[in-house]
């Protein structure tokens, strides 16, 4: 994988709320499992850095922005739906509704 194919991810959270904490853990776990060494994940606490929120189309928190590879996608929620998280990141071809083993 060339450096250009690296995943560029930004995760917007609000401090250490349970929802935000769950989202951070879930995203980190997936990245380590599937993209080890091939991703940049930036975690932005909008309470600490409110100005940065305008860089992306953020209304919901938590939101994970997959900026690269294209197409850009927004994943919102606490990332507890692992299938949708994988699908949204382009790491799964379809969302399997029942929990996969």
């Amino acid at each position: 994988m060339t450096p250009g194919d690296k995943y560029v991810l930004r995760l917007y959270v609000t401090g250490l709320t349970p929802r935000s904490t769950r989202a951070i853990q879930a995203v980190r776990a997936v990245c380590e499992e599937f993209l080890a060494g091939q991703y940049d994940l930036e975690i932005i606490d909008v309470y600490q850095q409110p100005a940065r929120i305008t860089e992306d189309q953020i209304v919901a928190i938590p939101t994970l922005v997959k900026s690269r590879p294209a197409p850009e996608r927004l994943l919102i929620g606490d990332m507890s739906d692992r299938q949708r998280l994988l699908y949204g990141l382009g790491l799964a071809l379809a969302v399997v509704s029942s929990a996969a083993p």
Binding site: V59, E72, D78, S80, R84, L85
Partner: protein, 492 residues
């Protein structure tokens, strides 16, 4: 009870700066609270909101944040440039902040629980950045198209409006009208302070925009539907003038232009800043009589505006010349201005606004509308009446003496057709003719004239190359019909 009364007085108003809207809301939108502006596509919601922000920033020193879900800053700037608003400049001066949020469901994957804290942080950041006092959300319901979980959305929007109230932001929330409700998602449930509804209707091919204050908690407001216009000057809601009858009454008198007619009006003519109706069937000499009035006013050095809905100014000047009235000299001196227009070229409201404009630009002492009946053809009776009320109100407030001619189709309906407008008129002069022995004889009489003893004599007259000539009343004088005690009074 006492508490209620205090609340009533305590409600602060944030002026919108939109002419007319601040009149019907008695001062503006509820300060520090959200107002819902609802309407169909193209009804002017966004323009109203942007005007509220721009006027706030420019005139009331209240910077504003525009959170847009539909158009970006450049598109918005383009939209309102034709109204004379320069959004970019205001943004540079930190009086306005436009934040565009694009929410597209196809780009969004929902992976679990979330809230809209991002929206709050964004808004808070924008408000702090410029010290905003006003906020506009355009159109927040777009979020329903982008996010699936309407339960979360509703709860969060409720929280958002409460938050805006806590922050004392005067907020305009625009929303598309839904079926049987003001908004598609029932936002009116959450915004209970004030609701304004906009409407765009076409009646007999003439389109009219209307605005209505549906609800205004803790304040009186005009409850009617008011026409409004969007043109190069932005939004104007009619009435442009106040809803109250409070103009001064002048006791100064102005000549009718005919000493003999002055005599019939207690010897001194019309009251200044009063309204005069001149009615009669075709060819009775209404226009000539108006021209006499204008001629006399110009001779006193007063400025006149003549609104023509039937003839061109050139035709009018030529015709009056044949009756010995030289209007051209007043035009050349700049004392007389003609304003000719086809009645059916616009809706009534546009006519009204153009008249407003012309009167404001020229600041005349005398205004003639000839004939007012042609304007009546382009609107319904109620429309015409309400428009006339506004015109008259406006003219009276400015101290303008206004003369309206009215064309009646036949003498049988003479008094009937004008019933709707006659109450708005202070003086009513009727011109008519009789056919006696193959000879038409013209005559005029004063049907009413408020606040003065007037003649009740029917006076015959002729129009010659010297204009109107009132003839001596025949020995067996004819009394005017239909008037009560007032007609019994006679001039000295």
């Amino acid at each position: 009870m006492t508490k209620n009364k205090r609340d009533w007085n305590e409600i602060g108003k944030a002026p919108t700066g939109i002419p007319g809207l601040d009149d019907i809301t008695y001062g503006g939108l509820p300060a520090g609270r959200p107002t819902l502006v609802s309407g169909g596509p193209g009804s002017g919601k966004t323009l109203l909101g942007v005007s509220f922000l721009v006027e706030g920033a420019q005139r009331f020193n209240e910077p504003g944040v525009l959170l847009s879900f539909e158009e970006n800053a450049d598109e918005l700037a383009q939209d309102v440039r034709s109204l004379g608003y320069d959004l970019h400049k205001l943004c540079e001066e930190k009086k306005l902040l436009v934040d565009y949020i694009h929410v597209d469901r196809s780009e969004i994957e929902e992976t679990g629980e979330y809230d809209l804290e991002g929206l709050f942080v964004r808004l808070e950041h924008a408000i702090n950045e410029i010290g905003a006092k006003r906020v506009m959300l355009d159109t927040i319901e777009t979020l329903f198209g982008g996010l699936k979980d309407t339960g979360i959305l509703r709860a969060e929007l409720r929280r958002l409006f409460r938050w805006l109230r806590d922050r004392k932001m005067t907020t305009v929330v625009t929303a598309e009208r839904g079926e049987n409700q003001f908004t598609r998602q029932g936002l009116e449930e959450y915004i209970s302070d004030a609701v304004i509804s906009l409407d765009h209707r076409v009646h007999e091919q003439i389109s009219t925009r209307r605005i209505r204050v549906v609800k205004y908690r803790g304040s009186t407001h005009g409850t009617n539907e008011y026409p409004f216009l969007i043109n190069r000057d932005g939004i104007t809601v009619l009435p442009v003038t106040s809803l109250l009858l409070e103009h001064d009454a002048s006791s100064e008198r102005v000549s009718t232009g005919l000493p003999a007619l002055d005599d019939m009006l207690a010897g001194r003519g019309y009251y200044r800043a009063s309204t005069i109706l001149m009615s009669g069937s075709a060819g009775t000499g209404k226009t000539t009589l108006s021209a006499h009035f204008v001629d006399a006013a110009c001779a006193r050095g007063e400025k006149c505006m003549y609104f023509l809905f039937e003839e061109s100014p050139q035709q009018m000047i030529r015709n009056m010349k044949s009756a010995g009235i030289d209007l051209k000299r007043w035009v050349d001196k700049g004392l007389l201005t003609f304003h000719a227009d086809r009645p059916n070229r616009h809706g009534l409201e546009t006519h009204l606004l153009e008249m407003h404009h012309a009167v404001e630009m020229n600041d005349p002492d005398v205004v003639v509308v000839d004939p007012i009946t042609n304007l009546m053809a382009v609107g319904t009776q109620t429309d015409v009446r309400s428009m006339l009320t506004r015109v008259i109100d406006f003219l009276k407030t400015r101290g303008v003496t206004a003369l309206f001619t009215s064309l009646t189709s036949s003498s049988a309906t003479l008094e009937h057709t004008e019933a709707m407008i006659s109450s708005l008129m202070d003086t009513w002069v009727l011109v008519a003719f009789d056919t006696v022995e193959a000879q038409r004889t013209r005559h005029l009489f004063v049907l009413k004239s408020r606040g003065m003893p007037h003649s009740d004599t029917v006076v015959p007259f002729k129009i010659t190359s010297q204009g109107f000539t009132l003839l001596p009343v025949p020995a067996r004088s004819v009394r005017s019909k239909s008037r009560g005690p007032q007609t019994a009074r006679r001039p000295k």
